[in-house]
């Protein structure tokens, strides 16, 4: 499907594909496919498994009470005409821009190429057994959580022979709420089957998730014994399975000889994430998740427009959170692909095709994957966030950001540097997302600011060209400040790194030109910290005053 959008004075007419690729075969992906179909999008649901099944794939959380709802959902998606399921399929290649991605799926031995307007990445967790970290080998009486799940599912007669079961968890990894939920659910399922003594030896009880505190309370009432330790128990498998530890409540040594020991597993970021990140040009975050650990990437956003990460793709999220993500991803897709919303804003960056030497610097620096090329570089107006990083890095000065062109900034710099009778004049390049609002807060709160303070708004501190800084000095500024957000807080992922590096370069150039590099400063401040902004500006002011006197 494609939809034509009509351009107005500030928009262009581009045709968008209203098909969406969803990667993953677990419940989050299935839910997302359903949510997209409901909104009128065509869906390609690609997953590596044999078939879409219920229970679906290695789901993040045990399905428990949601069993019927989930079964119905899987059935529904299988029958939905708007959803085409590709079994045994992986993403092999991807190119293009929001509204017009070309994706190649490897399905069995064949390649399938499709055009889609957006991509939602929603694979399930990988589960890794951590028995080796305990120095244990798996056996009849030492099993993983997955093995226990299978035994419970199959109602394995072996289980009936086990009068006592112990769990160890939270010593081989920093625990998560998912781990605790899984242990508690397994304990309850064991307890429900028949009378069995259950011991849980655990590090932290991670309860910070919806309903988990209540689950813990219920699980405790049902009679399992919980031991919270700071150090792992000593476990030996030979000649008999035994655990030795100090009971922190009764303050005495404990010896357990359970019939069965269940060893914790780790919920790890989906293995797929790595290749998907590479193919889709995403900047991945910590622990293999597909979202930078940055508060501005809220909910399902990734570093690229039109590509979203839902559920386990982006963090340690449980099934209900994955479902919220599925809805949020569908809504975000609607946001960019739906008719009215496809209006392409004029406030983006543009390439002067006459100047472009096709060096592809812009392609490399763009954090949003907005640059492609034909015989010259091209910027997708749907993907571009107007951060200006490319504009300041382009060696040909071939890129201009709407409202922040070199000419406009030169004018503002000249105005700021010259204006102001009360010296010292500080020309301050303030990032729109952090330092500018912090300066506004400082003003509103009546925090002191230097008399010669001249702020200039920039879309990102990373947009500040070395030329701008030098220009400000040439025009007569006593000091120049470039102020960005804190490391790891850049809305454009890494603009602040470019900013810091450029200030360093400019300092070197100033030294070479015999100008005191101390007159240039780089600072970091959060949008909500007027008081710190004031401190930074006043310190700079005092430095410049002192300099003047000496």
């Amino acid at each position: 499907m494609t939809r034509e959008t009509v351009g107005t004075a500030s928009t262009k007419t581009i045709s968008l594909s209203t098909d969406v690729l969803v990667l993953g075969g677990g419940y989050t992906a299935i839910k997302c496919a359903a949510a997209l179909s409901k909104r009128g999008f065509g869906v390609f649901l690609a997953h590596p498994g044999e078939d879409l099944v219920h229970p679906a794939g290695p789901a993040g959380a045990p399905a428990g009470d949601w069993e019927p709802e989930l079964a119905e959902l899987v059935d529904h998606v299988r029958q939905d005409k708007n959803i085409i399921v590709f079994d045994r399929a992986r993403l092999k290649k991807a190119a293009g821009m929001p509204g017009d991605f070309s994706v190649t799926l490897r399905k069995g031995d064949a390649d399938v190429v499709r055009t889609v307007g957006a991509v939602v990445v929603a694979p399930e967790f990988d589960k890794k057994s951590l028995h080796e970290k305990y120095g244990l080998s798996l056996s009849d009486n030492v099993v993983t959580q997955s093995t226990l799940d299978a035994m419970l599912e199959a109602d394995d007669p072996v289980l009936s022979g086990k009068g006592s079961v112990a769990f160890v968890a939270g010593f081989a990894q920093e625990g998560t709420t998912l781990l605790v939920e899984r242990v508690l659910t397994q304990v309850r399922r064991l307890k429900k089957r028949r009378s069995v003594d259950v011991y849980v030896i655990i590090g932290n009880i991670n309860l910070a998730a919806e309903g988990l505190d209540r689950l813990y309370a219920m699980a405790r009432e049902e009679g399992a014994l919980y031991f919270k330790l700071n150090e792992p128990p000593e476990i030996s498998q030979d000649p008999v399975l035994s655990l030795v530890f100090r009971d922190p409540v009764l303050r005495r040594k404990m010896l357990l000889e359970p019939d069965l020991l269940v060893v914790e597993e780790q919920f790890a970021a989906p293995e797929q994430n790595r290749s998907v990140a590479r193919l889709l040009l995403l900047k991945a975050g910590p622990s293999g998740f597909l979202q930078p650990d940055n508060v501005h990437f809220s909910s399902v956003r990734t570093t690229r427009e039109g590509i979203f990460a839902a559920g386990p793709a982006r963090g340690y999220l449980d099934l209900p959170q994955g479902f919220m993500d599925a809805e949020n991803a569908a809504m975000a897709v609607e946001d960019i692909l739906d008719e009215g919303k496809a209006e392409v804003p004029a406030q983006t960056a543009e390439v002067d095709r006459d100047k472009c030497a096709i060096c592809l610097t812009c392609f490399r620096v763009c954090p949003h994957g907005a640059v492609s090329w034909d015989d010259k570089a091209k910027i997708s107006p749907l993907a571009c966030q107007a951060c200006g990083l490319c504009a300041s890095e382009c060696p040909q000065e071939a890129i201009q950001v709407h409202g922040f062109s070199d000419r406009e900034l030169e004018g503002r710099i000249a105005g700021a540097a010259k204006d102001g009778a009360e010296a010292p004049t500080i020309v301050a390049f303030l990032c729109k997302n952090s330092a500018w609002p912090a300066w506004e807060a400082a003003r509103a709160m009546d925090h002191p600011l230097p008399g010669g303070f001249k702020p200039i708004l920039v879309p990102c501190a990373g947009e500040v060209d070395v030329d701008y800084i030098l220009d400000a000095f040439v025009q007569g500024a006593d000091g120049v400040l470039a102020a960005a957000c804190h490391a790891g807080n850049c809305r454009f992922h890494q603009g602040n790194r470019y900013a810091a590096r450029r200030v360093d370069n400019a300092k070197r150039l100033l030294s070479e030109a015999g100008i005191d590099p101390q007159r240039l400063a780089f600072a970091r401040v959060a949008a909500n910290m007027g008081v710190e902004f004031s401190r930074i500006a006043m310190q700079m002011h005092e430095r410049l005053e002192k300099r003047k006197k000496t």
């Binding site: 009470d65 505190d213 501005h296 809504m331 957000c485 909500n528």
Partner: protein, 417 residues
């Protein structure tokens, strides 16, 4: 766009209400945002930045940013100092809101009055320049004896000529195609744990006070002398995971804020020693493992919740606990004791639950999503819940929940039309 020609009523202007309103407006829906206090932003807007060498992902600055977005959004109509009086209709609603008058006409008058009467706290300011208007008559003063009349008298005295509004409380009726309840939480009242001496011992403070101090000063300071402490302690789970109090839930945010504040304070003052008394440390997000490892190196963790605190000389606070290994009583003095208070249900929940015919859960939060996969829907079609109104959550989790509430509301609007 999916929400064109529709109107949604959002109750509560904290991060959950703000974000839901922003998302809805982005989809073409008109929003009435009803906020009880004089300022949008809720609790999150009052928190300080906890960055050290790098951002520590507390989320406080996102509230500032979303507030700015909402302030610039023409599709959102903000009703300050307003509360829900009643709702009629089913599926399509007609909501009556009650609004307190502004008392003084323009911000300039209030600003002048603020400067003149600083000490009296007749007039208060917002937390952010995106709070518009930026000044308001202190609601605390209004609820004192004499109320509005007395306050206006004092204002007239201090700032003659300030143009007063002689408004009565007014009622407005707003049509609503759907309602999102985002009325947030109440911070735990630390006086309910009297053995910690909160309110009596000067340097026993709550996490909320430390957050506000961080926002205003950029630092953690002792209230008694305004100096940075050299030795501080945090007691976790104050008012949470406490069966005796009837608050069995984990508040899910206090471990994160306590550790981040501790590290931010240590970054500015590496000499500062911090002790954290805890039961379990809850994860703070994606980078938690690395962050916690660092915390274990920099902070002293004691797995025991103290029972008492006593005042000592020099404004110090003596804390007593039982040694986790031996059980022996241990006492030690600190310059500052922070009570990591948690999230409790908003006392308005009962009334809202009756007015909207949506139930509360056993803990007193709105029963949305408990045991359900759809986490923002209530039993009543067209009424959704977002943020901490439905249970403890962090700022990012409140935003995700609010987006889900908006998504479900937009689907509902489509089906209802």
């Amino acid at each position: 766009m999916s929400g064109h020609g529709k109107r949604v009523l959002v109750l509560g202007g904290g991060i959950a209400g703000l974000y839901a309103a922003k998302v809805l407006a982005g989809h073409g829906t008109a929003v009435d945002l009803v906020e009880k206090s004089g300022f949008l932003g809720g609790h999150g807007l009052q928190y300080g930045c906890k960055a050290g060498a790098a951002c520590e992902k507390c989320g406080a600055c996102t509230v500032e940013q979303i507030l700015a977005d909402v302030a610039a959004e023409p599709r959102i109509t903000v009703h300050l100092r307003a509360e829900l009086a009643g709702v009629e209709g089913n599926g399509r609603f007609s909501a009556t809101i009650r609004q307190r008058p502004r008392l003084l006409h323009d911000d300039a008058d209030l600003a002048a009055c603020y400067k003149k009467t600083g000490g009296q706290r007749l007039v208060v300011r917002g937390w952010s320049p995106n709070n518009r208007p930026f000044y308001a008559v202190n609601p605390g003063k209004l609820s004192e004896e004499g109320g509005a009349e007395k306050v206006l008298g004092l204002v007239e005295q201090a700032c003659p000529g300030a143009a007063a509004v002689d408004g009565e409380e007014a009622e407005k009726t707003l049509p609503a195609d759907a309602i999102i309840v985002a009325t947030g939480f109440a911070p735990f009242d630390a006086c309910k744990k009297p053995t910690y001496g909160y309110g009596k011992i000067p340097n026993v403070v709550t996490g909320l006070e430390v957050e506000r101090g961080l926002r205003a000063e950029g630092r953690v300071l002792r209230p008694s002398d305004g100096e940075p402490p050299k030795k501080a302690a945090f007691i976790q789970c104050v008012g949470s995971r406490d069966i005796a109090l009837g608050n069995p839930w984990c508040s899910r945010v206090c471990c994160a804020y306590a550790l981040r504040i501790a590290q931010a304070a240590r970054y500015k003052d590496p000499e500062l020693s911090v002790t954290v008394f805890y039961m379990d440390i809850q994860s703070t997000g994606k980078s938690f493992p690395a962050f916690y490892e660092q915390c274990k190196k920099d902070l002293r963790f004691v797995r025991n919740i103290p029972v008492d605190a006593f005042p000592e000389q020099g404004g110090r606070v003596r804390v007593a606990w039982s040694h986790p290994k031996t059980g022996a009583r241990v006492e030690e003095a600190f310059d500052l004791l922070v009570l990591s208070i948690g999230i409790t249900p908003n006392p308005d929940n009962a009334g809202l639950s009756r007015a909207l015919f949506i139930p509360l859960d056993a803990d007193g939060f709105f029963a949305a999503g408990d045991g359900e996969l759809e986490r923002a829907a209530t039993i009543r079609p067209g009424v959704f819940v977002a943020g901490t109104a439905a249970g403890p959550k962090s700022i990012p989790a409140s935003m995700a929940h609010a987006a889900a509430a908006a998504a479900e509301a937009l689907e509902y609007l489509k089906e209802a039309s």
